[in-house]
């Protein structure tokens, strides 16, 4: 046992004395994480199309319809595939099953809550102000306009209702898509806001005309455009609409979180495949034969070296976890992250062992290790969001530690607990067992 420790410490010492290894293990992933965090500001990004979105519109009024139409606008077309639904529980189930990215729920009283004055006018005069365009308005008689002004004035003194919520029920696995849908709705609310502010300006003039009517009637306004938003007035630009994003159990997507973990896993792979390569390098340096003629069992030599590579990898990812956390990245429950890191490091070391056991030289192992790391990272979604990859690629990538790493940290980052984590850790450990069995076969062949 003591010899295993001696071998492992020697590995760690050699790895941390190698400037090239330090650059690969720590400096590069940290710099990349910083760059990605700065570029994306922590959220959003990616080239997406036809994001599946469900819409449950309980309001059916003109205002909410305007919001729905935003999804069909030129700028959004092709980005979102909208499906209108009526059964809320069925729709939520589809989100839970990751079938769709988001369910948008517009409440029944949306129009009345957003524009209570318009609701009053509709109730008393029978006119839907939000459905009128400028031509419709100009066609009204002065008496009708004054009547509208009277009804409008009635609602002015009423207590403002609470903000109305549009709920986005989002899948934790579609976090970028959720961010996009949220942005589209925000844009729709802004458009709605411009329209309403124009109307409010006109109606305010009408109210004034109504108050003064009979004594010294002021000319009824006719040339104020509907879209004349008083944008300089911050108070007036705010609509009482609140967007509530509900991600079952967790946080919304952050590029910084995602890239911190995925880049750490990529560079862990580089480090451990490089560590595995040293097994062949030691043969070339002559130190492996020398080790094998010490009174130490050959298996102990192998296990000791592997333990050293695992220890090096653990130190590497722990430093990266700490450093990226200082930059604001969230990896998940700090009690579970070490467990996840340990499993992933052991799994990744298996790849290093496997590559080294079948390669002929250290140079060959280095080249294969780099190729395996890069291809594995690409298909597992380390460079771009995993959830945007085709399902068959996502499934295929489960032969890589990177894919399991992203699955594990996505779960942790979205608030997953130990119970949620166990199946993923089990999957990673199963893969690890396969790697080590194949590596042992390779080592037996190579060193017999």
């Amino acid at each position: 046992m003591k010899k295993l420790w001696v071998l492992a410490l020697k590995e760690v010492r050699l790895a941390f004395r190698d400037v090239g290894m330090l650059v690969t293990m720590l400096a590069t992933p940290l710099l990349l994480t910083l760059a990605i965090g700065a570029a994306f500001g922590g959220s959003g990004g990616g080239n997406l199309s036809d994001v599946p979105v469900l819409l449950l519109n309980r309001d059916q009024g003109t205002l909410s319809q305007a919001l729905v139409e935003v999804f069909d606008s030129e700028g959004v077309k092709g980005l979102i595939a909208l499906e209108q639904v009526s059964d809320e529980s069925a729709a939520r189930a589809r989100v839970d099953q990751d079938e769709v990215a988001v369910l948008v729920i517009i409440p029944a009283d949306f129009g009345a809550r957003v524009f209570p004055e318009g609701a009053q006018v509709q109730q008393t005069v029978g006119l839907d102000l939000t459905a009128m365009d400028e031509a419709d308005y100009q066609a009204l008689t002065n008496e009708q306009k004054l009547e509208i002004g009277r009804a409008f004035a009635l609602s002015q003194g009423q207590v403002a209702p609470d903000a109305v919520s549009i709920e986005l029920y989002a899948s934790p696995d579609w976090r970028i898509s959720t961010a996009i849908v949220k942005s589209v709705i925000t844009q729709g609310i802004e458009i709605m806001n411009i329209r309403l502010q124009g109307m409010m300006a006109i109606m305010t003039r009408l109210v004034t005309a109504h108050i003064l009517s009979g004594a010294n009637p002021e000319p009824v306004p006719s040339a104020v455009p509907f879209a004349a938003m008083p944008s300089e007035n911050p108070q007036a630009s705010a609509l009482p609409v609140r967007l509530t994003v509900t991600v079952p159990g967790g946080r919304s997507f952050s590029w910084l979180d995602y890239s911190s973990a995925s880049l750490a896993i990529i560079f862990l792979m580089f480090a451990v495949t490089s560590g595995g390569r040293t097994l062949l390098a030691e043969r070339e340096w002559g130190t492996l034969p020398r080790l094998l003629i010490t009174p130490t069992a050959p298996l102990a030599v192998l296990v000791g070296k592997m333990a050293g590579i695992v220890l090096t990898g653990l130190l590497q990812v722990t430093v990266l976890w700490g450093a990226t956390s200082l930059l604001g990245a969230y990896w998940g429950n700090p009690l579970l992250v070490p467990l996840a890191l340990l499993v992933l490091v052991i799994c990744a070391t298996g790849v290093g062992a496997l590559v080294s056991s079948w390669a002929q030289t250290a140079g060959q192992a280095g080249a294969i290790g780099t190729a395996v790391t890069l291809v594995g990272s690409a298909i597992s979604g380390s460079f771009f969001p995993r959830m945007n990859l085709p399902v068959w690629v996502q499934q295929l990538s489960l032969i890589t530690p990177q894919a399991w790493g992203i699955e594990i940290f996505s779960e942790l980052q979205s608030g997953g607990g130990l119970v949620d984590l166990l199946p993923l850790l089990g999957g990673a450990l199963l893969l690890t067992a396969v790697y080590y069995i194949l590596a042992l076969v390779g080592f037996r062949r190579q060193f017999r």
């Binding site: 003591k2 010899k3 001696v6 071998l7 020697k10 010492r13 050699l14 004395r17 190698d18 340096w285 002559g286 130190t287 034969p289 020398r290 080790l291 094998l292 003629i293 010490t294 009174p295 130490t296 069992a297």
Partner: protein, 315 residues
């Protein structure tokens, strides 16, 4: 009493290939320096690798201190120390860290290991560079450290595989003197070399290997007796390419037992150098060759090797 018994040892790397070691048998007695002498590729390192448990013999067996290398490799490893031909050190560790690591791998620890490290560093004149990383060392210093690692724990059998290859004369002298001192202190040494002078200076007994076979075995006196009272006449030519023709011309001439050529030199195994020299000069003249230097040597291992193989040891 034999510390090492090598019996009909054979090693073949590929089934269709030649035997790298071919039916080699010898014994090494406790307390002696036994040298395996031979040119590169003779099978010396392969033999050492089998004795040290690193390679599995194709046939035959080796017993070290009563333990069969195949059946009880761990017991064998407990009694041996090896300084391999290629430097086997961690260049990013210091001399002291290397010694500590290899000492711990030999099962040493605590005060004993500390004492061993200090002693070996002092013996190899490396104490002042103990904390320096090996990659900053000269070739000779690395060789000395490589040897020091092999001596950790004062093993009963020390195997030194070409320990003086590619080093400066000062370090070479240091190593040879140390081997003698170590042997005087009771260590048994298996020493491989292709330098005849080293084998002559150090060894109680010498085994000469060529092409995987042990072609002669004995003390220096016993071996040189095999070539009788013959002398060696070495002619260095001005024309590098003419050696082979002169050697061929002299082969079969009276009093010339063997003739070989290498690097512009012709080596003759002759009954009397004085008698053979005029003949050699005449033949050289006939071939249009001119002789730069003439060297007459007493019978030595070079002569023995030439006598046994028809080739010079350096070929």
């Amino acid at each position: 009493m034999a510390l090492v018994e090598v019996n009909n040892l054979v090693k073949r790397y590929t089934s269709a290939g030649p035997n790298a070691v071919d039916a080699v048998s010898f014994e090494i007695h406790a307390g002696e320096v036994f040298s395996l002498l031979g040119p590169n590729g003779a099978g010396k390192t392969t033999t050492i690798s089998m004795i040290s448990t690193l390679l599995t013999p194709t046939a035959g067996n080796v017993v070290v201190d009563g333990h069969d290398v195949q059946r009880e490799p761990m017991a064998v490893r407990e009694v041996i120390g090896v300084a391999p031909q290629d430097l086997a050190l961690y260049h990013d560790l210091s001399a002291e860290e290397n010694l500590r690591f290899w000492g711990e791998m030999r099962g040493l620890g605590g005060a004993e290991l500390k004492r061993e490290i200090a002693e070996k560093l002092a013996l190899m004149d490396l104490s002042d560079r103990a904390k320096a990383r090996v990659k900053t060392f000269s070739g000779g210093m690395k060789r000395r450290l490589n040897l020091a690692v092999g001596l950790l724990g004062n093993p009963r059998l020390v195997m030194l595989d070409e320990p003086t290859v590619a080093i400066d004369p000062q370090s070479r002298r240091y190593i040879l003197d140390y081997v003698k001192r170590m042997n005087a202190d009771g260590a048994t040494v298996l020493y491989t070399t292709h330098y005849m002078e080293e084998a002559q200076e150090l060894s109680h007994r010498i085994g000469i290997m060529d092409q995987g076979r042990l072609i002669a075995l004995g003390t220096l006196e016993e071996l040189t007796r095999q070539v009788g009272e013959h002398e060696t006449l070495v002619l260095k030519l001005h024309q590098e390419g003419g050696g082979a023709a002169l050697a061929e011309a002299l082969t079969g001439c009276e009093d010339v037992f063997e003739a070989s050529a290498s690097n512009g030199e012709v080596t003759l195994n002759v009954d009397s150098a004085q008698a053979a020299l005029p003949l050699a000069l005449a033949k050289a003249g006939d071939l249009g060759l001119s002789i730069r230097t003439v060297d007459i040597r007493e019978p030595n291992l070079e002569t023995v090797f030439l006598h046994l193989t028809g080739r010079a040891l350096r070929d």
